[in-house]
Each structure stands twice: as C-alpha cells, then as structure tokens.
Amino acid sequence: MDKPLFHFALAVLVAVLLPFFIRSGTLATEVLIFAIAAAGCNLLLGYTGLLSFGQGIFFGLGSYTLGLMLIHTSLPLLPTLVLAMVVGCVVAIIIGALSIRRQGVYFVMLTLAFAQLFYFLAYTFSDITGGDNGLIGIPRRGIGPLALDSSWSFYGFVAVIFLISFAALQRIATSTFGRTLLAIRYNGQRAQAIGFPIRVFKIAAFAVSGAVTGLAGALHALLIGIAPLSDIDYHMSESLLVMTIIGGTGNLFGSVLGAAFYLIVSDTLSAIWPRWLLLLGALLIVLALYIQKGIWGLIERGVGAVLGRRGGPDAMAPDTAGNERP
C-alpha cells in the first residue's frame, strides 16, 4: 500500500474515473484543482508537521497572478501558470522564513496574521485586484491549437497538470528530502542533532508547497474566469487544511480523497438542505474524534481487515500534525 507507483496509479484512476461518476465537468475539474492544493498543504502539514494558515495566500496570489497576466498581457497560458508558481514559491519562502522562527501556537498565529495581511492587501488595492468584486473577465486562453473552452477539454488539461504535480510531489516526498521532512516532523531535535539544517528544509518545504498551491490557485481562476477575493481569504486556508485532514495527513493520495470528498459532499448536501454546513461540521467532529488518519487511514484499516494484516507503517506512527516537538 505504500508503493509510490501504486499511489500514482490510484491518482490516474481518479482522474480517469471522475468523469464517469460526476456529470459536471466543472465540479470534476474543481476536485482535481483542490486535490493539487491539498497535496501542497499535505507536504507542510503531513510531512513537515507545519500547520500553516498561509495556504490561502499562495492560492490567492496564484489566482491574481494568472488573472492579471491574462487580462493585461498577451502571454501564453503555460508561462502564465509557471509565473503563478514562481510568485507562490517566492512569497512562500518569505512567509516560511519568517514564520518558522517561532514554533507551535506562535507559528500558527504568524501564518494566520500573514493570511489576514494579504487578504486586506487584496481588499485595499481594489484597483488591481477588483477588491470585493473580484478580478473579473479572465479569458481562458488555449494552448496553441488546443482550445480549452468546453468543460471536459479543460478537465483533460487540468487532469494532466494534476498528474504531473502529483508525480512531482510524490517524487519529492519519497526522496531523501521528503524522508528528512518526515524526520523533522517526528523529532526535529534529533534531525538537527544528526546535522540536518532543519530551517532550510522547512523553508524548502514551504517553497514547494507555495509553488504547487499557486498553480492550483491559477487553475481555479482559469476555471471560473474570475479571481474572487475569497481565493485569498483565510477561509481558503481553512478549507484546504480541512480537505487535507479529512483525506489523511502524511499521504499525498489522501489529499486527493480529501478534496474529492469535501467538494462532492458539499455540493450534494447544499442541494438537499440549506443548512448543510451543520452536517459538514458534525462530520468533521466525527473525523477528528474517531478517524484521525482521515479517509486514507480508514481505507488502510479496511483493507488491512480484509487482508488480515495491519496497514502501512505510517498508520502506526503517532499523529503529530500541528504539534511540533520542542
């Protein structure tokens, strides 16, 4: 269950099967976009143990970067997406470098403060961002002869980017770098004593996470044709964290499940009952109390029971998410 190739095969399976189970191309696309962002969040939370409320900043900046570029310049789509990643990455390095100077609760508070700061920057500079109205009229440029107008052609494009991002993140997570991040999460002091520059590693994790989240934000703006203020709101960070935790921290495919579950359940419940947020709240309480390893943990347990053995080694690991050891 822990083989990277197996997880990648599952990601491919999701990308291929989603259109068969969801009639709406836009909802299916949104699932993959948020899966990318949640995987980026997971790298920080699940692998490095950093509970960051800054993810919304990178997501929002990705949206604005893409929007501003496509509205005001004639830059082709792919360089614009790369630019959104660069902006997400650079800002993540700055925020990461400042935030990791403190640990635990103070780290979380610093990222929250940055989230508020960037939200109000976007709100205040409404001439650039559109403020509360959002940045409207973002064109969906095609790639060469490939038009991305229809929802399913755009889905295909996003699916390819999703799989590339997933593979890249997985490569990072299984590399020495990724293993070191896990070591930092489980015992930062020991990792430092062995000689790892944990500050640099944490900033690097921020950089990767920022780039990936910026990319997701850019794709989101491209999907809906606007960069709304809510993309940079701290509620966005909250949603991304919730998706990551629902899916299961410390496992990248868990984030895909988390994003799919969150978005599809929200969409279904909101059509049934206007007070659906109550149900979602109750569901989160159940998850936090009884299913701390998220959906992925549940699947591992289920499969373990079916096959008569325990889940992977990560299922046995203590849940230290958000609790950096001193």
Partner: protein, 401 residues
C-alpha cells in the same frame, strides 16, 4: 503489487465518488424552458435567498407555459460565494442548457455570474447593488432591476434636503469599499450642489460589527442629519446603536440603502419610528401591478412580498415575457426583446434601457412610523417621495461587450 489488491483498493476509492450522481437533480426536460435562480440559499444571506426562491417559483408558476413549452424553475445555491456561483452557472448552461437566469443578490457573485452568462450568450437579470453591473462591467447578457447608488442618493438625500432646508450639516458613516464609496461620492455631489456641509465621515471595514465609536464621532460633530451608507446587518447594527445613544432626538437619521420589509422586521417599530429609509421596493406602493401582486402573495403565502421576493418575481416575469415577445427562449432573442421594453411594473411604468440594460424605475424615500400608528403588522413606514434618477450610460461608463 498484486493485481487483486490493486482491484480491491481501486474499487474502494471509486465507490466514494460513485454515490453523488444518484442524488443529483434530474436534467431539465427538453420540452421545457427553464428559468434558473442562482441565489444564496445557504450561508449568511440565506434568508434573502429563501424569499428570492419563493418569488421566482411563483412567477414561473404564474406564467405556466411560454411559446407552447412548459416553464420550469431551477434553484441554484450560490452559497453566497462567487466561485461556487460561477461553477454552478457553468454546469447549468453547459449540461442543462439553461439560458435564462434571475438572481444574484450579492454584488461580487452577480458580477462574476454576469460575465459567465455573457460568455455563453444567455440572459442574467439581477437585483445586486454594485454600480459596475450596468457601469464599467456592463455586458450584453446582464440586466439589472435595482437602482444603482446614484439614484439611491438622489432620491433620498435630495428630497430630504428640500424637506428640511435648514439642515445644513450632514455626517456620513460609510463602508470602505467600492459600493460605499459610490454612495458617498454621489452624496458629496448633491451636498455641493445644494450648499450642504459634510461635517465628517467615518469609514469602517466590511467586517465591522461595533459602531458606537463612529456614532460618538458623529455626535461630536453635531450634525443636523446622520446619513448611514452601509447596508444589511451592518446598517441595522449602526441604526440600533445610534438609537440607543439617543441620536433620534438630536438629529434626523437617513439610511440610504435599506433592504425593505426584511429590515423593518429585524429592527422593530421602536427603532425604525421616525427614521428615513431609502428603498427599492415597498409593498405599500400604489400601482395596479403591485396591488395585484400583494393580494396574490397574501392569499397564496400569507405574507406581504418583501424586496427579495418582489425583485425575484419581476425578474423571472420579465425573462418569460422577453421569451414570449422575442418568439424564442434563446439568449440573443430574449436580450433583443428586453432591450427598450416598457411595461407596467410594481413601481409603475418601468423601462429597460437598451444602452446599458438598466431598468429605469422608482426609488423610494420611506419614513418609519410609530407602533401605535401601524395599521397592520407590516405597516412600518409611509412613502414620503419617489422618483427616477439615473446616470446616462456614458456617465456610468458602460461600454457594451
């Protein structure tokens, strides 16, 4: 990895994704014309969404059928979020082939939805407030029934100045964003023209809930009139706190952009008594169409129509009338039919201006009455004056796209 384990796992993974389509609403039937109402049915503005949905569904039921096809109604929950709103509009247009939309109470969602509907040449009718909707962001598909900030100020501040020529000192409380600035700038223009002094202004953020500091500042400036330029729950909170501070006896208070009956119910007659309010709609309007609507809603729903209800009703009616007149429910035909249309609406004669798709209609100045003077439970206010004030499409900066 063993093939069996792979299959087991993949079936579990996909099972989670399999359930929703079963629960999804059915596709709109081909032989029906659908009017969709994208409204905030959940979230902070769910109450407005509820009345909007009632209004739309009643208008659709009243119209029955158009062009020999049954008129059907599709409710879309925007959750009050632009991103969700746009996504669901895309779904409705691409998968359910819906072309006609009436809704979008919040400006940010409405602007985003208008742009999206325009991409696919549908029609989007809204009551949202932002000037940009029929101003700098106007487009071929978007129509707006409500009066923008310019008219709201000119039909409230101007008549009040004329009514009280001695009231020369005004103080404003303004939410710091585009909509608030729009109201404030329009007010400043009227003040300048009428020789009225703006003795002070307090800006606040959209998240503000506590207004006593601003009210103390207002008292210190000793104005004759306090002009409240925020809206919704913020204006209710501002007003309630102002009344608690005893401002009613010290100065005249005007809330330029009230939400109508909903807001009076929330405030209660003790607070609203003696206060002036600007409103897009009031159930007491003396017009044949309005009287008919009020009687009907009272009979069928047991309530008086409020602004969310009435706005939604007239927008859905205009869309079905547009389809009838245009001879097709196709977006471009309906747009053409609606442009320049004149009709007897709830506020009397209303016209849809072709150049910017703004409906030219009355805006009302109301005055809250005392509890003892109320004839029934909803008789919170009297209409003091009404009129039509609009910027020209050029001055509103509308360049139709």
């Amino acid at each position: 990895m063993h093939r069996r384990r792979f299959l087991q796992l993949s079936s579990i993974a996909s099972a989670a994704l399999a359930a929703p389509p079963i629960l999804r609403t059915a596709f709109a039937a081909d032989d029906a014309i659908t009017i969709a109402a994208p409204l905030p049915m959940s979230g902070a503005f769910a109450a407005n969404g509820k009345y909007g949905s009632m209004g739309t569904s009643m208008a659709v039921a009243d119209a029955g059928s158009v062009l020999g096809k049954k008129l059907s109604y599709l409710e879309i929950d925007t959750e009050g979020r632009p991103a969700t709103a746009v996504r669901k509009i895309q779904e409705a247009m691409q998968q359910k082939k819906v072309q006609l939309f009436a809704g979008g109470i919040l400006s940010s969602s409405a602007l985003a939805m208008g742009a999206e509907v325009n991409k696919h040449q549908g029609v989007f009718f809204t009551t949202a407030g932002a000037d940009e909707i029929t101003g700098s962001n106007c487009n071929k598909s978007t129509f707006r029934w409500s009066v923008p900030t310019y008219g709201a100020i000119n039909e409230t501040v101007r008549p009040l100045i004329e009514k009280m020529p001695k009231a020369k000192r005004w103080y404003t409380i303004t939410p710091k964003y585009v909509f608030g600035e729009g109201l404030l700038n329009a007010a400043k223009d009227v003040f300048k023209e009428k020789g009225v002094e703006l003795v002070g202004n307090s800006y606040h953020s959209l998240d503000e809930k506590e207004f006593s500091g601003y009210i103390t500042n207002a008292v210190a400036a000793q104005p004759d009139v306090l002009l409240i330029l925020n809206f919704g729950s913020q204006s209710s909170a501002t007003l309630r706190q102002a009344v608690n501070f005893g401002l009613k006896s010290k100065m005249t208070i005007l809330v330029a952009w009230a939400s109508g009956l909903e807001q009076f119910e929330e405030l209660g007659a003790d607070v609203s008594d003696g206060i002036y309010f600007g409103a897009q709609y009031w159930h007491g309007i003396d017009s044949p169409f309005n009287k008919e609507l009020v009687a009907k809603v009272q009979k069928e729903k047991g309530i008086n129509p409020n602004y969310s209800f009435a706005g939604a009703y007239i927008m859905a009616k205009l869309l079905s009338d547009g389809a009838k007149k245009g001879g097709s429910a196709d977006g471009s035909a309906v747009i053409k039919a609606l442009e320049g249309m004149e009709y007897d609406g709830m506020t009397g004669k209303e016209t849809i201006r072709a150049a910017d798709h703004q409906v030219i209609k009355n805006y009302y100045l109301l005055k809250g009455k005392a509890k003892a003077a109320m004839k029934d439970k909803d008789d919170y206010a009297d209409i003091i004056s009404s009129g039509q004030s609009f910027l020209s499409p050029e001055d509103a900066k509308c360049k139709m796209t």
